[in-house]
């Protein structure tokens, strides 16, 4: 079943010069059609300004399409009334961990979403407990968000989404401001949620290594969807990726360079284990 269905989506916004006069429109998302299956882990790649965040913000109704349609769980997102009801099903995690925590304590922050949904008070504490344990943050329930590390803050943000019991997690570069260990812990949490809870994940990123672990990789360039396939398929197209200012995972690149030099290696090697195996099998 398709949990997200995007058909011919166009999003335009007006640009204004310094005097406030309209100086034309910019097409941030250009005729994108995309389907995401329930339970999938999809990574969206693209350099800055490729329209990947804009695309994701249509799925939970933060932005409205100029043309085209967006369906979430078989329901038209732009026509949802009131609009916040679609956001229960599609939680969104943002880049800056500080700018998405509202509560004065971890517990209060996680409860913020369900509080807005009007979940009865008796059920709120249970939801918080459950969400915190799924995100692995139970020990910090009473902490102040200011006392947490970046990775921990992002996990609190994830718990805040889980407390709304969403079917989809939209993650807008959730690891961009984290150190390597923070990145690792956030991604581990997200993969576990995808595997164990069956939550569909849409991960926007520009770290190729993160995309390599996804079920499907989508590449966007200048508002257009230009590639859509398994990581192996997408990362085999090294030249095309380079053309839209993207790199490929380090091992893929190394394998590609070796192949250019005449070694007989398969396309789309994703990690060092695959590369090592391929090299050992050369003769």
């Amino acid at each position: 079943m398709n949990i997200i269905e995007i058909l011919n989506l166009i999003h335009e916004y007006k640009e204004y010069d310094d005097e406030g006069n309209s100086s034309g429109t910019v097409r941030a998302v250009d005729n994108v059609t995309l389907e995401v299956k329930e339970g999938d882990f999809v990574a969206i790649l693209g350099h800055n300004g490729s329209g990947k965040s804009t695309l994701a913000k249509h799925v939970n109704g933060l932005l409205m399409p100029t043309a085209g349609s967006v369906m979430l769980l078989g329901r038209s997102v732009p026509e949802a009334d009131p609009i916040w009801t679609v956001r229960r099903d599609a939680g969104m995690i943002f880049q800056n961990p500080d700018n998405q925590i509202i509560g004065a304590s971890v517990e209060e922050d996680v409860a913020f979403g369900p509080e807005n949904m009007g979940v009865p008070q008796e059920e709120l504490a249970d939801r918080v407990t459950e969400a915190l344990s799924k995100a692995g943050m139970s020990a910090f329930r009473m902490s102040s968000p200011n006392a947490l590390s970046g990775g921990q803050k992002q996990r609190v943000a994830i718990a805040g989404m889980l407390a709304m019991k969403p079917r989809v997690l939209l993650m807008d570069e959730p690891t961009a401001m984290l150190d390597p260990s923070g990145r690792k812990e956030v991604l581990k949490t997200v993969h576990e949620l995808n595997r164990e809870e069956g939550i569909t994940v849409v991960l926007i990123t520009h770290y190729m290594e993160e995309a390599a672990d996804a079920d499907r990789v989508i590449v966007m360039n200048e508002g257009k969807l230009i590639m859509n396939g398994t990581p192996r398929e997408v990362f085999s197209r090294v030249e095309e990726l380079r053309a839209c200012k993207l790199t490929v995972p380090a091992m893929t690149e190394l394998a590609y360079e070796l192949k250019q030099e005449g070694l007989d290696l398969p396309d789309g090697i994703l990690n060092w284990k695959e590369l090592a195996n391929a090299l050992c099998n050369l003769n």
């Binding site: 939970n60 943002f94 509202i102």
Partner: protein, 274 residues
């Protein structure tokens, strides 16, 4: 760590006063101010002092913390004492040059000082024993009735609690910008007042820009979590009155009644200098 400092002047302790509902303490602040102005004479002030002393003892807040609050208004106290002392007409006790100290002057000035000191100490009990967030919650509920007059009570309370959450983050940001500007030769320490004020401009502009960016991010994050105003919102820890709150309410009103009765009684049977 600047990020861990408690905001406002909250003093963390486990006491009956800390556990009281913030609304009770809010009302206490108001009633106590009323009592200080309703009361006349030394007896009333003695009662006010005893009542406050009991509360402070119960709150387990060290007296020096409460006295700290007075530091900022020392000038106000001295000035009002000075004016009352020299400008009150009446029976002259001492006279030198153009100044004269009267018996009434001493009386009024000393009562004035006691009143201001009690006022500050009494109201600081609220902020010392209530976390800023409890205080916001209390304000939201206490002024909830204003909603019928279309006052956006929930929104104001939400803004207050968000502001409280962002204060440590913005302090961090100021430090970061300051270091960045100093690294490029900005000088925040030297020069006169005007030069120092001018030096703040390269600090404030980036701070404002970043605060607006944060605000916009936060608004999106709140919307993404189904925020749509106060309607239909539930609370994880709603404020509820307990037995101790009811007792505290009753005690407050008993105290105010005692002050008023004392005043009426003293007017009916005047006693010299009370």
């Amino acid at each position: 760590m600047i990020r861990d400092i408690t905001l406002g002047q909250y003093y963390d302790a486990d006491s009956v006063i800390h556990r009281l509902d913030p609304r009770v303490k809010l009302l206490f602040s108001v009633l106590y101010i009323v009592s200080l102005y309703a009361g006349r004479g030394i007896l009333c002030f003695a009662l006010a002092i005893v009542f406050l002393a009991v509360i402070i003892a119960l709150s387990k807040v060290p007296v020096k913390f409460i006295l700290k609050g007075l530091r900022s208004i020392v000038i106000l106290i001295v000035l009002s004492a000075f004016l009352n002392l020299f400008l009150t007409q009446g029976e002259v006790l001492v006279r030198f040059w153009i100044f004269k100290i009267t018996k009434e002057g001493i009386r009024i000035a000393s009562l004035m000082v006691i009143r201001i000191v009690l006022l500050i100490m009494g109201t600081s009990v609220l902020t010392l024993t209530t976390t800023p967030n409890d205080l916001t919650d209390g304000l939201e509920r206490a002024f909830g009735f204003l909603k019928i007059f279309h006052v956006p009570v929930h929104e104001v309370a939400m803004m207050m609690s968000i502001a409280l959450r962002f204060i440590p983050i913005l302090i961090d940001e100021v430090n970061k910008i300051m270091k960045a500007q100093q690294a490029r030769g900005a000088d925040f320490e030297n020069g006169g007042l005007i030069k120092k004020a001018k030096a703040m401009i390269p600090l404030l502009i980036p701070l404002f820009v970043s605060a607006f960016r944060r605000a916009s991010d936060l608004a999106q994050a709140m919307e993404a979590r189904c925020y749509h105003g106060g309607d239909g919102r539930t609370k994880l820890h709603p404020l509820k009155y307990h037995r101790r709150d009811v007792i505290a309410f009753l005690l407050q009103f008993a105290y105010l009644a005692a002050i008023i009765l004392l005043r009426i009684f003293l007017r009916a049977f005047p006693v010299e200098f009370l």
